[in-house]
Structures are given as structure tokens and as C-alpha cells.
């Protein structure tokens, strides 16, 4: 599985959505992405990439796109792989 697939999958699992709907998502766009859902998403991401996210990154993860940026810049996740 590519890193992008792993990343997308974390959203699919956390919010029970279709993979195609993930890239446009922002915090609170859907009912499932509330503060409770956010905790689940972070747990999925940490497990998928074997990382421990810092609080400033957890609270900055306000959209699918923003999360990609954070993971690639701060946690060395290469989305080309």
C-alpha cells in the first residue's frame, strides 16, 4: 500500500466514508469529524505511520490536505512512495 493509500485509509476508517470523499474533507464538514472523530483519526494516523504526533500538529490537522502537509514536513512521510 502506498503512503497516500495508508493516509486515505486512516480517514476512511475514522469516519466511515468512501475513499473518493476523503481528499476534500475539512474538520467538522461531516458529523463524524468532530472532536471525538478527530481523536480516532489521530490514533489511526499514528498507528499507520508508527509516529507520535505533537499537540500543535494534532490541533493543526484541520483538513485532509493540511494533514498531508504536516505528515510530510514534520514526520518524514513521503507521499510519492
Amino acid at each position: 500500500m502506498s503512503n497516500l493509500e495508508k493516509y486515505t485509509n486512516a480517514f476512511v476508517q475514522a469516519f466511515e466514508i468512501e475513499p473518493k470523499d476523503a481528499p476534500a474533507l475539512k474538520y467538522q464538514d461531516i458529523k463524524a469529524w468532530d472532536s471525538v472523530g478527530h481523536m480516532g483519526l489521530v490514533a489511526n494516523l499514528e498507528e499507520a505511520f508508527d509516529i507520535m504526533m505533537e499537540i500543535e500538529d494534532i490541533i493543526d490537522l484541520s483538513s485532509f490536505e493540511k494533514g498531508k502537509e504536516i505528515l510530510s514536513q514534520k514526520y518524514d512521510v513521503d507521499f510519492a512512495q
Binding site: G37, H38, E54, I55
Partner: protein, 468 residues
């Protein structure tokens, strides 16, 4: 209720966009709003943690108009049911959703609108009645708690005393304004001339923490789930120099988390205060004094000033021995008038006479500190919200007439047992939509049949065995 004039130059509210509103200004906003309502009546206040909602709440109470506090994104069927049942004279709500109603707009300010309904006062409001709140509103029951002016004043004064609040406090909102715990934070702070930082942002958003720091919040409150999130957010590594204390209520915090936060508070010169209450007792019934928080972690403390606890056994006798479980009974001026199920009930007076049988099972230790150990009634607290298990079953059965269903579980984790694999996802979606709670709180489990006794009653104990 509140003497806003007394603190006229103090800052009452800081909004998300850094507007500072003095008590004088708040008073003016309140009077402008309520001058549109000629006589005492019922108003639905559809609220958010915004200045407009606060003006409604404070204004209505100060003008002896009775608000029913509801969340602005309340489920449509439930709202319609409440409107039909209670026939409010007005609905006060955020302007952006006022278009959903065909009622006439009579006033608007601060992005909030006051709508006049077609109902005329067809019933009486008891003169002691101040405020209405839902109990397990999320499952569709129109049952309300009736709180009096005396209840609110008694509870407010008591909380102000044991938390030692003064006008230098700045509380940031983490709880909704339709929720008794959130309301009690508003009540107490405006009572002493302190400041409220109103925000709709959640702990999971950096804007929340920016406001927390920029506006120098001195306190916040949270339900058990809030503290779980804070723990996972690695809250203990945050630098919050202005924070003085944190309170917890809305369900029992795990002893492990209680100990962790009590320890952190002690080491960092903060206070962590665990409390217990119910909407039926206005808000608070007990608190664990901060200096005992670590020593007595897991306890919900002692009765608040002016209140009294006792435990009764199944025959109604008072339990005198420590470490003996009984049903918790509370007495105090904050015990509310009673419930309402229909609009005629709003004329009723005090049905409890200052005594509340809580439905919670508890014990006390040799030093007189109380511990909640269980619950008599079949409901769960999910993210601080009471969700009745039998009502949830009824909701599911009404929507899926062919389905066998039974609900059980623990706080923050409801187990829904059904007998048809094909309905699994639908049931999960349906119940999270109806309750407005995140779907991860509900686990749908498919079993062959629901265990029942000969009379057809569900055997919940056996359900738990199947699960184990």
C-alpha cells in the same frame, strides 16, 4: 437574577473575534432584546457559545421570561416535537437558521433573530419557574426539568463559595450553553462580575488554544471524555501560566485519569476539582476539594455548601456505616421543582420539596467522602450526555419495525444488539444521526436472538454474557 449594573465597567464577555463586552453593554443588549416581549411567556433559545445566545439567556431570566435552552443544531424531528408539545410564544435563534421557520421575525441583533410563533399563551407558567432544560433530549423524549429562580440562585451562590470565585476569573467555554454544567459556569461568573471567553471552537482546534492563551483563561470545565482527550493530546506538556483550576463533572471520571490530573495539578500549582451533579439539582450537588483531589481520587467528594447527602437501602432506611452501598439522596435549595412532560405541567409548583432521590448508587468512606458505584436506571452517559437505553431501543424499533433490538453497555460505549446482519450499518448511522453523537460511541453487535425470559422481557445480564 443578575445585577449587571453593579459591575458595569468590568468585561463580561470576550468573543472569538476578540470583542470585549462590558457588563453595561451586556445589560443594554439584554434590555433591547426583551423589550420586544410584552409579557411573561415561554421562549425556545436555540443556542451556541456566542454573545447572541448569552444575551438571550441572561436577558430572558432577568426579564422573567422562561427560556428552554436547546442546541442550535438540534435534530429537526425532536425540535418539532418540542414546539408542538410546549407551544412557545417565541423562538430566539442564530440568524443563519431563522429561515428554516415560517414564523415572523420581530427583532434581530448580534446575528440572532427573535421569531414570534402563532401560539398564544394557552397555559399558565408557574411564577417560580425560571428555566427549562432537557434531560435525555437526544433520544427524542420531550421531558424537561423545571428550574426555579431560587434553585439557580442557591446553586450559583454555593458554587461561587466552594470554588472561591471572584471578578478576576476568566472561564473559557468548553461545554454547550444548553447543558446544565455549561450554564452553571455562566451563572457563577456573571454573579461575581468575572469574564467569560465564549468560543464555539473545540479542544481539537488550534484556534481554541490560541484564544485560551491570548485571552488568558483561568479555568475550564470538562466531562470525562474531555479529560480523556486532554490526556491523549498530551495536555500535561502544555504551558498554561494563567490557568488556575479545572473542574470535571458530567459522569464519573476513571480513577486513573482522576489521579493523573490531580497529580499534575498538585505539581503545577493548579487545582483540579471533581464534582457531581444532575440537571434535576440545577447543576451541582458535590465537589471534591482540590487539596483532597489526589488523596481521595475516585471520589466525588462531599455535599456542596447548603446541601446534604444521605444513603438509603432498598427499604428506605438510612445507611450509617461506611463502605456500604445505597441509593444517594440529596437535600438542598437547588433541588429543582420537578419534570414537565407537556405544556400544562409548566403551571406546576414544587413537587420535590428540596429532596432528590438521585437514582445513583453510592457509598462513603470512613472520612465521609462519597463514591459513585453504579446507577439504578437504565441510561448511559455518552460524552457527558444522558442517553436512555430503553428510549434508544424504542427509537430503533420504531424506525426498523422488523428488527429485534436490545441496548446495553458502559459510559461512552453503547452496545446495540440486533438480529439482522444487513441492518448493521443502517442502525449505526440512524442512531448517531438521531442523538447527534459520534458513531464510534455505538457498537452494533449481531447475535442470533435476543435473550428473553418467559414474559418476553429482555435479559440484559445474559446479553453481557454473550458479549463476553
Amino acid at each position: 437574577m443578575w445585577n449587571l449594573h453593579k459591575f458595569q465597567d468590568n468585561i463580561a464577555v470576550i468573543t472569538e473575534d476578540n470583542k470585549k463586552i462590558t457588563y453595561q453593554k451586556l445589560d443594554n443588549y439584554c434590555k433591547n432584546l426583551t423589550s420586544n416581549i410584552q409579557k411573561r411567556c415561554l421562549v425556545f433559545n436555540l443556542c451556541k457559545n456566542e454573545i447572541g445566545s448569552l444575551v438571550g439567556y441572561i436577558g430572558f431570566l432577568n426579564a422573567k421570561i422562561v427560556p428552554l435552552m436547546l442546541k442550535s443544531d438540534i435534530e429537526e424531528d425532536l425540535l418539532n416535537n418540542l414546539i408542538e408539545t410546549y407551544k412557545p410564544s417565541y423562538i430566539y435563534l442564530p440568524e443563519e437558521i431563522s429561515e428554516n421557520f415560517k414564523f415572523k421575525k420581530v427583532y434581530s441583533n448580534l446575528n440572532y433573530a427573535l421569531l414570534k410563533t402563532n401560539f398564544e399563551n394557552a397555559y399558565k407558567l408557574n411564577e417560580e419557574l425560571a428555566l427549562l432544560l432537557t434531560t435525555s433530549g437526544s433520544t427524542g423524549s420531550p421531558k424537561l426539568v423545571r428550574q426555579s429562580y431560587k434553585n439557580i440562585e442557591a446553586n450559583t451562590k454555593s458554587i461561587v463559595e466552594y470554588l472561591a470565585l471572584d471578578e478576576t476569573e476568566r472561564a473559557i467555554t468548553t461545554l454547550p450553553m444548553n447543558y446544565t454544567y455549561g450554564i452553571s459556569i455562566i451563572n457563577t461568573h456573571l454573579w461575581v462580575g468575572a469574564c467569560l471567553i465564549l468560543t464555539e471552537k473545540s479542544l481539537m482546534q488550534k484556534e481554541f488554544w490560541a484564544q485560551f492563551k491570548d485571552y488568558q483563561a483561568t479555568s475550564f470545565g470538562g466531562v470525562p471524555y474531555t479529560y480523556e482527550m486532554l490526556n491523549r493530546l498530551r495536555f500535561f506538556r502544555m504551558d498554561l501560566p494563567y490557568l488556575r483550576y479545572m473542574t470535571q463533572a458530567g459522569g464519573k471520571l476513571s480513577p486513573e485519569l482522576h489521579e493523573l490530573f490531580a497529580k499534575w495539578a498538585q505539581d503545577n500549582n493548579k487545582k483540579f476539582i471533581v464534582m457531581y451533579g444532575q440537571t434535576e439539582a440545577t447543576a451541582r450537588m458535590s465537589y471534591l476539594p482540590a487539596e483532597k483531589s489526589l488523596e481521595k481520587y475516585g471520589s466525588m467528594g462531599i455535599a456542596i455548601p447548603g446541601g446534604k447527602f444521605s444513603l438509603i437501602d432498598t427499604e428506605g432506611n438510612i445507611i450509617k456505616d461506611p463502605e456500604t452501598v445505597g441509593e444517594l439522596v440529596y437535600e438542598g435549595d437547588n433541588v429543582t421543582l420537578g419534570y414537565a412532560q407537556k405544556c400544562e405541567d409548566l403551571a406546576l409548583g414544587d413537587e420535590r420539596n428540596g429532596k432528590l432521590i438521585t437514582g445513583d448508587m453510592a457509598k462513603f468512606d470512613k472520612d465521609g467522602f462519597f463514591y459513585i458505584v453504579g446507577r439504578k436506571k437504565r441510561f448511559l452517559k455518552i460524552f457527558g450526555n444522558r442517553v436512555n437505553l430503553d428510549e434508544t431501543e424504542r427509537l430503533i424499533k420504531a424506525h426498523f419495525p422488523m428488527l429485534e433490538c436490545a441496548c446495553a453497555g458502559i459510559d461512552d460505549k453503547m452496545d446495540i444488539y440486533i438480529t439482522d446482519e444487513n441492518c448493521k450499518k443502517e442502525v449505526s448511522d440512524f442512531i448517531s444521526q438521531k442523538t447527534g453523537l459520534n458513531f464510534t460511541a455505538f457498537r452494533v453487535i449481531v447475535i442470533k436472538e435476543i435473550p428473553k425470559n418467559e414474559a418476553g422481557k429482555t435479559l440484559y445480564k445474559n446479553l453481557e454474557l454473550i458479549n463476553a
